[in-house]
Amino acid sequence: MNPFDLLGGLGRAVLAMLATFGQVALFAFNAISHIFRPPFYPREFIVALMNIGWLSLPVVGLTAIFTGGALALQIYAGGARFNAEAVVPQIVAIGMVRELGPVLVGLMIAARVTSSIAAEIATMKVTEQIDALVTLSTHPMKYLTAPRVLAALITVPVLVGIGDIIGIAGGYVVATQNLGFNAAAYLQNTVNFLEPHDVFSSLVKGAAFGLIAAIMGCYYGMNSGRGAQGVGRATKSSVESAAIMILAANFVLTGVFFSL
């Protein structure tokens, strides 16, 4: 193979990636700006709040409780190697609140909400429902994107907070029922160890991940290709991109909050 062809291919791939970044950034800016500009669609916003927030509670709760329980077991087993079993409440609390709670909730939201938004909007696109919206004098960014982005921005931090609490509760149940920890002492250690800064960082991460999840779903839905394959591709790409961006954003935010 001609090395210039290889180089050319690489260059095209990099340019395409940069172009996509630019398009997503412009789309995000546009979507956020429509949140503040009338007309507003309260019904669509309430539906999005329900879909993104309320209906995600079971999956978030189950993910958090099992993760918290497993974390307690791991810390206990690992801590036993250097006689540090007693740190289970502190490490479960800090691990859930600072890191696992926001990341796992973010990834579950990417799986559940981003995919559903992308599939719904992409289907609307291929069945000309988005064209129909335009002919009915309704801006698709205002009607479809803004309510979902705002709902995710509000509900995902709440879900993260709930996930943090349920995760800590999972660790508490395992530690007190299986590992012989005193219930009152466990709770006391947890509360004493956590700082407001930890909780604040968790909620800010939640807001950032919610924004990413909703924007990626809307972006890929609005830009989907034709037919069933187009909808499938849009859904897959939205979840992949949202998951990667959530993990990357988590790294950056962790650096901002805890390395300074």
């Binding site: 539906v47 609307m124 069945t127 429902q129 064209d131 129909a132 002919t135």
Partner: protein, 248 residues
């Protein structure tokens, strides 16, 4: 009046419209015929601004369609989409009254519902359909709901994109008659695209044949059979022999 002048549109290296020019006088019903993939829907979407032409001009009542208040421009139009394009998440009456429930034409919900039911009745659907969802309706009923939505705000201009595709001949006849009645009754300007010749004869005042990205022939529907245009003749006869290639 709608006037398209030398409109070009290509998708990548695939030219679709290559200098299309067409005039639709006010209050008349124009039907554009042509084979699949010849750009009929693209032409219609260019007028509405859903697709931006690469070059050429489109005028509605003498005004450049690209300029002016976009909402006011779109408020003059109603459109029936090929697959009806009803919103799955909304019940039928909210689909029909979509424009009346939001935006500048907003009305109280009870009043909007009344209008929706009246329009549903106008297209031959009973009021009990109003609270059903689009997925609970047959293809023919969805088309009729789409038609009710297109006329709900009593637009001056109505576009029909393949109004009878996928319907049986009886339902096609019902939809064709409804379109003709509604257009005549409302005095609206209509632009229909189809390759169903029975629709052409039922709906059209004038016919335009689109092929190769340009209008090959246009004239009154009464002159269509004796047009002398080889494209129109081949299209009407459905023959594989002629200037339109059967394999495209």
């Amino acid at each position: 009046m709608i006037r398209m002048e030398n409109v070009h549109k290509a998708f990548g290296d695939n030219p679709v419209l290559q200098g299309m020019s067409l005039e639709i006088p006010k209050g008349t019903s124009m039907v554009i015929i042509g084979g699949s993939g010849t750009g009929k829907s693209v032409a219609l979407k260019c007028v509405l601004g859903l697709i931006k032409p690469d070059s050429g001009m489109i005028y509605v009542d003498g005004k450049d369609a690209k300029k002016g208040d976009r909402d006011a421009f779109l408020a003059r139009f109603g459109m029936l989409f090929q697959g009806a394009a009803l919103f799955d998440s909304l019940p039928v009456w909210q689909n029909v009254a979509f424009r009346l429930l939001r935006g500048p034409l907003k009305r109280p919900p009870e009043y909007a519902r009344e209008i929706a039911i009246e329009k549903l009745r106008r297209v031959g659907l009973k009021s009990d359909v109003a609270d059903r969802f689009p997925s609970e309706l047959s293809g023919g009923m969805q088309k009729r709901v789409g038609l009710a939505r297109a006329i709900a705000a009593e637009p001056e201009i109505i576009f029909f994109d393949e109004p009878t595709t996928g319907l049986d001949p009886i339902m096609s006849g019902v939809i064709n008659d409804l379109i003709r009645e509604i257009v005549t009754e409302m005095g609206a300007t209509a632009m229909t695209i189809t390759h169903d010749m029975s629709s052409v004869r039922a709906i059209a005042d004038n016919v335009a044949m689109l092929h190769g990205g340009v209008i090959q022939w246009t004239g009154p529907v009464g002159q269509m059979d004796a047009s002398g245009d080889p494209y129109v003749e081949q299209f009407i006869s459905g023959s594989a022999e002629g200037p339109i290639e059967a394999v495209r």
